[in-house]
Structure formats: structure tokens, C-alpha cells
Amino acid sequence: MSEGADDKAPLPPRVDLATAAVLLALGLGVMALAWRMPTFVEQSGTGLTAPGIVPGFHAMVVAVLSVLLGLRAIRRGALKPGGAERPAWGKDDARQLGTAAALGILYAGVLVGTLPFWLATALFVFGFTAAFEWQLGPTGRLRRLIEAALLGLATGGVVTLVFERIFLVRLP
């Protein structure tokens, strides 16, 4: 069940230290919020069923484990020179990732709910495909753009038809 836990090179210890700091802040923050929740002692007779108990416990474990992660990172040299060296993402990787994330947020966060679903979907699929196939060069670009537009329209139409008409699922 290690989906996503792929076999890449180990992270430099300073990244783990930074992660530990963020998680410690999260754990402590949640503990503080849990502490401020009402206890309902009058209703239950015991403070042990207070709403803050369970999240407070989880947050405490997260805080303790993040301290252990931080200490381990320090032991592995996070504070030594070179502790931050990491295999940086390639420029292409970062650009592709940024493009995919930006288009995804634009579609799901802005277009969906603003435009009719089929149109938002057609625009997104066209934009996504065109953006990633643009880099394949000028040869055949026009054909690829036309195919991307057709793919977008087909996806918008088919998804709307299948979900809304056949499976009676409400679309945004």
C-alpha cells in the first residue's frame, strides 16, 4: 500500500529538519486549539469526553514524532555544511509541474461553477493538451491544436452525457 512512496534518492537531512519544524508548529497549534475547546463537564460528568481530547492527543503525537524527526535529521547532519544539498528538480520538471498545477486550479477553482460544465471542461482539456504538446515543435502543431480542441469538446460532451444523463450524477 505504499502508493506514492516511490524509490527515489533519500532526502537531504535539512529538508527533514524543515519538515519537522513545520509539523511541530502544526502539532502545537492544534494542541492549543484543542485546549481552548469547551469541555462539557456539566453534561458528561467527566472531562475525558471533551471534544478537544482526541485531536489534542493526535496533535501531541504529531508534535512528539516531529521532534524525533528533527533530532534524527540533526544527527544525520542537517546543521552541518552540505546538509541542504539535494537533487534539485530539473527546470523542465518544475515548469511542467507548475503548468499542470496552475491549469488544474484554474479549472477546478475558477472555471467550474462559473461557466457551464461542458464548456469549462472543453477549455481545460484543450488548454492542458495544447500547453504540453506545444513543446513538441512547430511540425504538426496546427494538427495537434485541432486535435486538442476536438478532444476538449468530446470530453466535455461525453462526461456531461455519461454522468448527468446516464448515471444521473449532478455536475457542477
Partner: protein, 501 residues
């Protein structure tokens, strides 16, 4: 009526009454395609198809989802053999011998072995499920709130320890998942935790939008990086399996089936661990160790049998304890809840025939998988060649629909986006995702049972440690934690070992 054979017969009759053949054929096909495409996992497939099953009856919906699950785990082997990229993480072990076989011009034979191994594996696991799930379900009826609390905690700990990678990060991921599950109104006092006055947050973070985000959106982002994969060959030899492969390696098949089912039944481990363990066990016991990694038929058979046997294995704890054995099983469990089939110990009382219906569904799915394994070779090769720039936006659209459809709230789409981003970042930081998902799924179980137990005892925590089953589960949980501390177990063993005079 309570005769298992009669109930199994009734299970098949019930499943077939719902137009099983039609639904099984299209759902297994979708499963195989989802599994075969690198970047689309079985978990994502089951999560997305859950959306399509909202308006179906519970039995038909479960049949569709079981078929997708079985098909996707099998489908992953296609890309493992032809692309050297596991279609799902479960097929990672299959690349070791599947791809070398394909490079030797034996891609068809490799796919035949994979089909046969997978078919036997699921059948073996289903047999174990049919034999043990009902009696284990009856045993689980003795579990009260105290025991269920420990079951949930044990699931998180075991998934954190063994789901691959760093146990410390595994535990952190598990407890982050548990934290996420606490957002929204709690059951005792209806107090909205971490809602900050927002009514959407007070309703809690939907399980399906979070799972679609972690497994769908994060996978899309991941898939769009790096160079695209290419198939090893467009020419395929015969995929008809050879009888000799079965007779020669029957011990490997049974060993891998047993290991796969057992690992499946352990909370949160899943198909990839089952495949790797079966592969390692086969290599250790093999007379042809030197062939492993260079195109060993036995190695491929072991990996495929193990991962496919894990599917029914992972459903055993879902039905008996409401604890998923793998990530796709977690989504399957969420779908069962959506359809009003409350999995867990009470299932043996409220709906005992459902266990046998699941057995019937698994058998139907396995048979359809065998059929497609033998006939669906060329079209799948074509599917594998679809450019990711054209496939991934469609997957993203399906994720968005899947997140929205359950409650028709735009808020759920934002939850999906947030979960996808967090899932992606956690993966980049080498956190295993399985414990995170298990934490989100089990959070409610843990929370409710802890609070219910404390209410029943008026705040006394001793029953959590003194009741016999609770005590055993508590000891198991502690043992799992100690096991994961590097170097501690050998030292402890050393203390008890007699020193030579």
C-alpha cells in the same frame, strides 16, 4: 438458511439477478485500463467509479467497484511487462522479470503467466475469504468500543511500520490522517472542531474528495513530470498460458496465494507489499534463483499471484472489522458506507449474506479478468500509447466530478485540490501515503469508540487495558511500535538470549 453453501449459492443468485455479467464486463475492462495506464492507480479507479455508482443499488455498485479493484490490480502488470513501469504500485515486483521476458521477445508469454498467476491468486484469496471471514466476523462480535479503538490504532501503527519507507514518517502520516478526520462536528456534543465558523468545515472534510485528491490530483501532478514512457515492442507472441507453468510452479502459486491473502488481511499493507513478499519468498525457495531478475517465470508468477490474492485478503478486515487492508479497500469501504452497507462486526448480524455476495462478486470479477487477459492484448497496447498530455486532463476532470458529485458542494472541489497538493508534497518529502489514508478512514472509528468507551465507563480508562482482547490488541500495538524502532528488537532479543559459558 445459515448453511454456508446455501448462502454462497444465494450470493451468486443475488449477484447474477442484478445483471452481473453486463456490469462485470464493463467494470473489469475499466479497471484493467486504469491499472494498465501508468499514473492511474487502483485506488483512484475505485474512487472515481464510486461517483458513477451513486444511483445504483448497493449490490450492483459493490459489484462494479469490486470488478474495478480486481481489474486494476491485474491491469498494472501490462505496463510493468511492456513499459517497465508498474501501472499500479502493486505491479512494481512484476517489472523485475516481466520486462526482461518482454525484451527477450516473450511479452505474450509474460502476459499469459501474469494472467494465470493473477487468476489463481484472486481465486485462492476468495476461497480464504469465504472460509474465514464469516467465522472471524462472528468472533469480532465480541469487540466492543474498547477493542475497536485498539483495532483502529493498531491499523495506523502497522501501516506506519510496514507500508514501505521510513516508519517514523509512516507514523507521522498516519496521525496527520487521524487529525484530518477530526475536522467537523464530533458525535458526543455536536461541537464543530476546527470549523472557525465555516458551515462547510463544520460538516467535516468528505472522505471521497480527500481520497480523490490524494490519489487522483497528486497522481496527475506526478505523472506530468519527467519524460514519457515508451512500449518495448508492438509485436506480441501468444498469450495463451502453458499448463507446464502451473504444474511446474504449483508450490510457488500456493505459497504466494497464502502470503498475499495474509498480507492483505493485515491493516493497511496492501498489494505492493504482498507482491514483494511473495517474490522474495519464491526467490528464497527457488531452484532457479539465478533466473530471478533476468526473466524468471517463477518470479513473475509469484508476484502476480501474491498481489492478486491480496485483493480478497484486504476485503476480509473491511467486512469483519471495518478496517481496510489496502488503499483501494479503504475506498471500497467508504463506498460501502455511502451505500448504507455498514461494514464491520455488526455485518454478521445485520447482513450476513453480504459476505457471500462479495465472494460471488470476486469470483465473477476473476473470471471476467481471465477472459480479458486472454483476448485483450492488442487494444491494451494501443491504450498504453495514449500520450499523457491527452489522458491526464481527462483524469483531472473525472477527479473534479468525483469530488463534487457526492454532496454537490463546490467546497468539496477545494478540499480535493488541497488534499491533492498536500498529498503531492508529502510524497515529495518521502512520506508514505497509505498510513495517511488509513488515518483519514479510521479516524472516525477511533474517535467514536474512544469517546463511547469513556462515556460507558464514566471516564474510567482501565477497560481499554484490562479486557482480554483489548489487552492483546494493546500488546500487539506496542510490539509493532517497538519492532519499528531501529536496532531495538535485536538488543531486546540479546537480553533474553543465553550467553555462552
Amino acid at each position: 438458511m445459515n448453511n454456508p453453501i446455501t448462502m454462497l449459492g444465494d450470493g451468486f443468485a443475488h449477484v447474477f439477478a442484478g445483471g452481473a455479467a453486463f456490469h462485470a464486463f464493463w467494470a473489469v475492462l475499466i479497471g484493467i485500463i486504469v491499472g494498465a495506464l501508468p499514473g492511474l492507480t487502483a485506488t483512484m479507479g475505485v474512487a472515481l467509479l464510486t461517483t458513477l455508482t451513486f444511483t445504483m443499488g448497493p449490490q450492483v455498485a459493490m459489484l462494479v467497484l469490486v470488478c474495478v479493484y480486481v481489474g486494476a490490480i491485474y491491469g498494472g502488470s501490462r505496463s510493468a511487462i511492456l513499459l517497465n513501469i508498474p501501472g499500479t504500485p502493486a505491479s512494481a515486483a512484476s517489472t523485475l522479470d516481466g520486462f526482461p521476458l518482454a525484451k527477450q521477445g516473450l511479452a505474450g508469454r509474460a502476459m499469459g503467466i501474469s494472467t494465470l498467476g493473477s487468476w489463481f491468486g484472486t481465486l485462492f484469496g476468495t476461497l480464504i475469504l469465504a472460509m474465514f471471514a464469516p467465522s472471524f466476523g462472528e468472533f469480532a462480535l465480541q469487540f466492543g468500543s474498547y477493542e475497536m479503538f485498539w483495532v483502529a490504532l493498531f491499523g495506523i501503527v502497522i501501516a506506519g511500520s510496514l507500508s514501505g519507507g521510513d516508519p517514523l514518517k509512516g507514523y507521522l502520516a498516519g496521525f496527520l490522517g487521524l487529525l484530518v478526520a477530526t475536522v467537523g462536528q464530533e458525535t458526543n456534543h455536536a461541537y464543530p472542531r476546527f470549523a472557525f465558523g465555516n458551515p462547510d468545515l463544520a460538516g467535516g472534510l468528505g472522505l471521497l474528495p480527500v481520497l480523490v485528491g490524494v490519489f487522483g490530483v497528486a497522481e496527475v501532478l506526478n505523472a506530468m513530470r519527467g519524460p514519457a514512457a515508451r512500449a518495448v515492442s508492438a509485436k506480441i507472441d501468444s498469450v495463451i498460458p502453458r499448463i507446464r507453468d502451473v504444474t511446474q510452479y504449483w508450490r510457488t502459486i500456493f505459497r504466494s496465494g497464502a502470503l498475499g491473502t495474509f498480507i492483505g488481511a493485515m491493516p493497511g499493507l496492501g498489494e505492493d507489499i504482498a507482491a514483494w513478499t511473495s517474490y522474495a519468498a519464491a526467490k528464497r525457495a527457488s531452484k532457479e534463483k539465478e533466473l530471478f531478475g533476468k526473466g524468471s517465470v517463477e518470479g513473475l508468477m509469484a508476484a502476480e499471484t501474491g498481489e492478486s490474492a491480496c485483493v480478497p485478503g484486504a476485503i476480509i478486515p473491511v467486512l469483519t472489522l471495518a478496517v481496510p487492508g489496502s488503499a483501494p479497500a479503504a475506498v471500497l469501504m467508504a463506498a460501502m458506507m455511502i451505500h448504507g452497507l455498514n461494514p464491520g462486526p455488526m455485518l454478521a448480524i445485520t447482513n450476513p449474506e453480504f459476505i457471500y455476495q462479495i465472494v460471488a462478486m470476486l469470483v465473477v470479477a476473476d473470471m471476467v479478468k481471465l477472459f480479458y487477459g486472454l483476448v485483450l492484448v492488442k487494444p491494451l497496447l494501443w491504450v498504453l500509447l495514449i500520450p499523457r498530455a491527452r489522458l491526464m486532463p481527462i483524469v483531472f476532470v473525472l477527479c473534479t466530478v468525483g469530488a463534487f458529485a457526492i454532496t454537490s458542494r463546490l467546497f468539496d472541489i477545494w478540499v480535493m485540490l488541497g488534499a491533492g497538493l498536500v498529498g503531492f508534497v508529502l510524497r515529495e518529502l518521502r512520506f508514505p501515503v497509505a498510513p495517511l489514508v488509513l488515518g483519514i478512514v479510521l479516524g472516525d472509528l477511533l474517535d467514536k469508540n474512544l469517546l463511547r468507551g469513556l462515556v460507558l465507563t464514566g471516564g474510567d480508562i482501565s477497560p481499554f487495558f484490562t479486557r482480554p482482547i483489548s489487552m492483546a490488541l494493546c500488546a500487539l500495538t506496542l510490539l509493532a511500535v517497538l519492532w519499528a524502532i531501529p536496532g531495538l528488537m535485536p538488543r531486546l532479543m540479546g537480553v533474553f538470549r543465553r550467553r555462552p559459558a
